[in-house]
Amino acid sequence: MYEELLEDIAHKSALRETHTGVKIVTGAGAIILCLLSPGFLAPLLVAAVLLMALVFLARVDVSTLGHVYAAPALFAVFSVSAIVLVAGGGETFWQWQPAPWFSLSVSRAGINQGVLVFARFIGGTTGLVFIALTTPMTDLFSVMRRLRVPDEVIDLAMIIYRTIFMVMAHVVQVYGAQVMRLGYSTFRESLHSFARLCGAVFISSWEAGEDLIRAMEARCYAGKFAVLGKDRPADPLSLAAVATFFVLTGAVAVTTADVTLF
């Protein structure tokens, strides 16, 4: 019933006070580097460095990381298996023919391709997870402003962000009330309960929306919303660390471009 949100982890992260731009450049740069790297070693290095940063610098719990990676990792294993089986070319590494009309074969090129995709996936996901677990959404609004996103979009994003948690709290309450009265005991009952849950949340959201307008009016709303706190200056040490990270991983990407598993 009580879920820990990525957003809450980001708020508690020890890297929370680090300059938002530096963290986004690190995460986004890592994703781009993984996509551009022709070899599989550089993305794995990127993933290893960022994971260590998450565990030792951001002080994110290892079991939390495990949970975060579980779903995408499962998806990756299935996708990569398909790639390994489908991608052809080169010498056949393994073959299995259980019936005359059905055979499975894996080529060396297929394995290399699968390993590269898997490494890119791990590196890219880690880049994204790095941003998600160190930078709360509230800090991203000021980045959006700097990127010249229109004020209307930022205002809307801010209201949506605030409202999501209120709607979610309401969903949890109504769902709990339904479960306590055996609302999800049978499939048929579950369908009914879920429909009622949606109805209740819709109505309360509508009322919350009307209250929002009243609250804004009572506080002299004149079309301005997106005021953002002051940015902290980027600390030279973190800039140097990020630069070193990119130089190192970039160099590995170039020098190990031709390295394959087989």
Binding site: I159, R162, A215, E217, C220, A222, V227, G229
Partner: protein, 388 residues
């Protein structure tokens, strides 16, 4: 008491579904007053409160702010809402921005303050409610009491003359409720007019200068709290219950005890009543000393130093900044609400105590202790820390 700031003349209001919510109400509120509108659910308290800042326009009658009828055009309403701050019952519905800073800054930004002014206003109002350092926290991570304080800070940032709070203690634990009431007391001492609606009669009774008893959209009684809540028939009609201390006083009186005329509003007053009733003379001989430590005027002595030199003295803190200061210096507090009275009680037992408070409340402490002394013909020494 100052001049009249808010006045209602024969107000009528009917809900869209046709029920009369307010039926011919007239009253006035003076600048600097603490007024509690008390009544059962559905009495029309919230509807009436929403008229004070023009959110609801009465169907009949007129509301005056600063002796001028409220105008309902956009510019006048904007001006009115700047001067009359409204804090809703549910802070989740009032907090609209994703961080505390952004929410508190909402009013000042829309009033066209410059960036520096916004920052100063946010810093000031967060300090007033004791939430400095919460600027970057998202509202969903705050407790009920903290959310209430953020909602109040958002209104304080516009520096209103009048603060209107709809059920300010709903959903808070007893200590959180006491904190909010004490904060309202502090704001009142800073010159704000504070109006609340509540059905918690025990909270309203010691706090309010004046109480307005509402039921079915009409005023049943409007007076100082001991008179407003002192009529058992009216209290029953309003589906409320009499404050315990007042009830106890009435019961003692019925039994023929000789009691002071002033009805008790606090445990201290009650003790005095009982004392008079049974012995007809106060029970103290050598009163203890009350020392006041002003956190705004450093006396060259830290709280810890003072405590070290006065072992075993009970310490109470009044006001959020005073409590923060005590927390910073790791000073355990014996009292956090009703502090002056509790220290007088200590003094009556012949024990010394220390009140940690802010500059604006030092005079209040001295005045309250003097007033008690006058009423009971006793002198309790009060001195400022560092001037001993």
């Amino acid at each position: 008491m100052g001049p009249v700031i808010l006045e209602a003349r024969d107000i009528w209001y009917r809900y869209p579904r046709g029920m009369d919510a307010i039926r011919g109400i007239s009253f006035h509120i003076r600048r600097g007053e603490k007024v509690a509108f008390v009544g059962p659910n559905g009495a029309g308290k919230s509807t009436l409160l929403l008229m004070f800042n023009g959110m609801i326009r009465p169907d009949g009658g007129v509301i005056l702010f600063d002796n001028k009828p409220i105008q309902y055009d956009r510019a006048s309403l904007r001006d009115l809402r700047r001067k009359v701050g409204f804090v809703m019952q549910n802070p989740d519905r009032q907090i609209i921005a994703p961080t505390v800073y952004q929410d508190v800054a909402f009013g000042p930004v829309n009033l066209g303050f410059s960036a520096e002014e916004v920052q100063a206003a946010v810093g000031r109002s967060l300090a007033q409610v004791g939430l400095s350092g919460f600027e970057r926290r998202p509202p969903h991570q705050l407790s009920g009491g903290e959310k209430k304080r953020v909602a109040l800070a958002g209104v304080l940032a516009m520096d209103p003359d009048v603060l209107v709070l709809d059920e300010p203690t709903t959903g808070l634990d007893p200590s959180g409720s006491e904190d909010i009431m004490e904060l309202l007391e502090e704001l009142s001492h800073q010159g704000k007019t504070v109006i609340i609606s509540t059905h918690d009669i025990e909270l309203a009774y010691p706090w309010a200068d004046r109480a307005v008893l509402l039921t079915n959209g009409t005023i049943l009684q409007e007076d100082v709290p001991d008179v407003a809540f002192g009529d058992p028939d009216l209290i029953k009609l309003a589906r409320l219950s009499m404050p315990t201390l007042l009830e106890l006083y009435m019961e003692l009186k019925k039994r023929g005890f000789s009691l002071p005329e002033r009805k008790p509003r606090t445990v201290l007053d009650m003790l005095n009543v009982i004392d008079r009733a049974f012995r007809n003379r106060p029970c103290y001989t050598e009163p203890g000393r009350i020392t006041v430590y002003d956190v705004d005027a450093p006396c060259g002595l830290s709280l810890a130093d003072w405590k070290a030199g006065h072992a075993g003295v009970a310490i109470g803190a009044m006001g959020t900044r005073a409590k923060q200061r005590a927390a910073e210096e790791n000073i355990p507090l014996d009292f956090t609400y009703g502090v002056i009275d509790k220290c007088i009680l200590k003094a009556l037992l012949g024990e010394d105590s220390l009140i940690v408070t802010t500059g604006s409340m030092v005079g209040r402490v001295q005045e309250r202790v003097r007033e008690f002394g006058r009423e009971n013909r006793i002198e309790i020494p009060v001195n400022i820390a560092g001037e001993e």
